[in-house]
Symmetry: C2
Subunit: 376 residues, 2 copies
């Protein structure tokens, strides 16, 4: 029996806006439903591209051209297309040391080597990045792009400070390496203080390839994401996008929903996520304060838990299964696929009670997975 | 100004079931909307896979396992995944001499050579297929798969007779070549007499790879199609499918719609398509009876028009543009990209009046594109 599902990053089902989504579907399909006899615009439903541009401008104060956007099936498909457009099998690309498991497996599926760059509690370390770029250049296999999640990083929750964002932008521009900025969590704030500007929005950020989605503020079941980039790259991505267009049925409904309810629903979701983060942190403190440490994210959906170094991850996986606790182990996020003593807890989906009970069960599993000799 | 858009295969917008789709969205999203916080099942929304199996069984009398289905973005994405799974760049694959332009360009995008097999008014010629298989074997580059549309073929409208279906199945089984059967139009009948069984449904057809979609009986804007195949191939396709799942938002609504309205809406669509086919054929007879000939399809969405051999296709494209008539030229359907004297008229989308006026304008364009010396 599953006590708590801490696995993938998903919003809260209890506060899912069913009535608002039904209303949006009714209005937009009544007005435009018969357009579904048409194939979608190859760049994706234009009103949703305009909305993606508005979402960016509202948060970042910088206007983007709706025609610089290509919609896709979640942000996963845009990342897949970028893997194919920017690199070839055998090439190296750079990610944060710990990064989004979905992106890492995607890059590897395209035959790319994911080279991790050391991070600290603020995110990517620029000295380490420069060293890695140098090393790859010296090896005759320069990095084909840098993939980074500067805001509410997945899995660590880190926020890259403004000066590092500026430094990162300066570095990739000097080195001529494309930067893919994944900003999927950027609207999920728990605190009044907001993160620094998106790197795409910084002066000189025009060539940054910007990826985001609607999955984290509505739900990944809609499968609607996007990339914004220069004309030439968008055309190349379109030539690789072999699906005759992204669903207009999904896009129509999400557009109407977002036009009417985006701000209010995002605010509600942030309140829920903050409450869940607090419950999880309190439960962890109570249950595992003596054994583990964790990030305290000010936004996003994830807590990154550091386990005792001596943990037996195989025993932990077995014990967690018996305890009915689902999560992604650290290994899934490691750029080098090392079996690191971490695990990621996604706290958007479980109920408050599941978070509390899940932490108890997780704590039992962790304690059971510490070799006898290593205890006390 | 566009007088008539004969280009891509789309259903009639006037009879698009707006109210029924809104009702379906309301019911299913009210019941299950909050499941959209989840990622889709990697094989696609299970109720829609069950429905695809039922659709097949109802028409063919043969049961398929819903777990043999993989949903995708239209039938285009399944065809793209098959291109990657079954062949490699530089490989040869076999299609009917004239075939679906979307599939041909997709195969070429994956670096495949599309080798056409001669057809007659009944479709694929088995003697020509066997010769082509032999020739490719002798060249040391055996065909990696055969792609065929046996029912209401696109663009010709041909129906492959039962004995040829049996012969085709026997041939590909003896030669060990995978057969991809595209059955997208199979529910669009204009006559009481029904086409023969799907090749997948014939005895010994278990290994046929079956592709279809909901695009032609609802609309391609929904972007929902599927492939049914053996376990091993489905797993391989899933490993290549880099989008974290096909939209459950679209799938939920289409499932509910199809459960309630599929038979009635398909019947209505068939009535409309038959009426439009008759209008188009009458108009062609009146306007171009002295110059052109065409198929008389008993189902599907297309009329394949043979132009005078001496036609100047460049002049025709220019004249048609001036006349406000959109269509796909024969070249787009030619397996060898030859500039053949044909054009395809898709008659589902234009209104009755647009069909009549469009044919007049098309006739003027065709007459203008016959070199002066060649006329009378």
């Amino acid at each position: 029996m599953i006590v708590c599902d801490f696995s993938s990053g998903r919003p809260d089902p209890e506060s899912f806006p069913v009535a608002e989504l039904v209303g949006a579907a009714t209005r937009r399909l009544t007005a435009e439903g018969s357009d579904l006899v048409q194939y979608p615009d190859p760049q994706g439903y234009a009103p949703l591209r305009r909305l993606a541009a508005e979402r960016f401008e509202e948060r970042e104060g910088v206007g983007l051209d709706p025609d610089s956007f290509l919609l896709g099936t979640g942000s996963t498909q845009p990342l897949a297309l970028l893997s194919e457009a920017l690199a070839s099998p055998g090439d190296a690309i750079i990610t944060e040391e710990f990064s989004y498991t979905g992106a890492l497996s995607l890059f590897r599926r395209y035959g790319l080597e994911t080279v991790g760059v050391a991070t600290d509690e603020q995110g990517l370390r620029l000295d380490a990045l420069e060293e890695t770029l140098d090393r790859l250049d010296a090896d005759g296999r320069p990095a084909k792009f840098v993939y980074a999640i500067p805001t509410y990083q997945n899995p660590t929750g880190a926020i890259l400070p403004l000066e590092r964002r500026e430094g990162l932008l300066d570095l990739v521009r000097r080195r001529g390496v494309p930067l893919v900025e994944d900003n999927c969590y950027a609207d999920l704030h728990f605190e009044a203080e907001r993160p620094p500007a998106s790197i795409r929005a910084l002066p000189g950020g025009e060539d940054v390839i910007y990826v985001a989605s609607w999955s984290k503020i509505l739900g990944p079941g809609a499968r609607l994401g996007y990339v914004s980039a220069g004309t030439e790259l968008i055309e190349r991505l379109m030539s690789l996008k072999s699906d005759a267009g992204t669903s207009n049925l999904a896009a129509m409904i999400v557009t109407e929903f977002m036009l009417q309810h985006r701000r209010e629903h995002t605010a509600e979701l942030c309140r829920v996520l903050k409450r869940k983060r607090d419950i999880l942190v309190d439960s962890l403190e109570e249950q595992l304060g003596d054994l583990c440490s964790w990030s305290l994210p000010s936004g996003g959906m994830f807590l990154w838990v550091k386990l005792p170094e001596e943990i037996d991850n195989v025993a932990l996986a077995r014990a967690a299964e018996q305890e009915g606790v689902l999560y992604h182990p650290g290994r899934n996020f490691d750029s080098g696929e090392r079996d690191v003593p971490y695990l990621r807890l996604a706290f958007g989906f479980p109920s408050d009670e599941a978070l509390r009970r899940g932490t108890e069960h997780l704590a039992r599993a962790i304690r059971a997975a510490i070799p006898a000799g290593a205890v006390g």
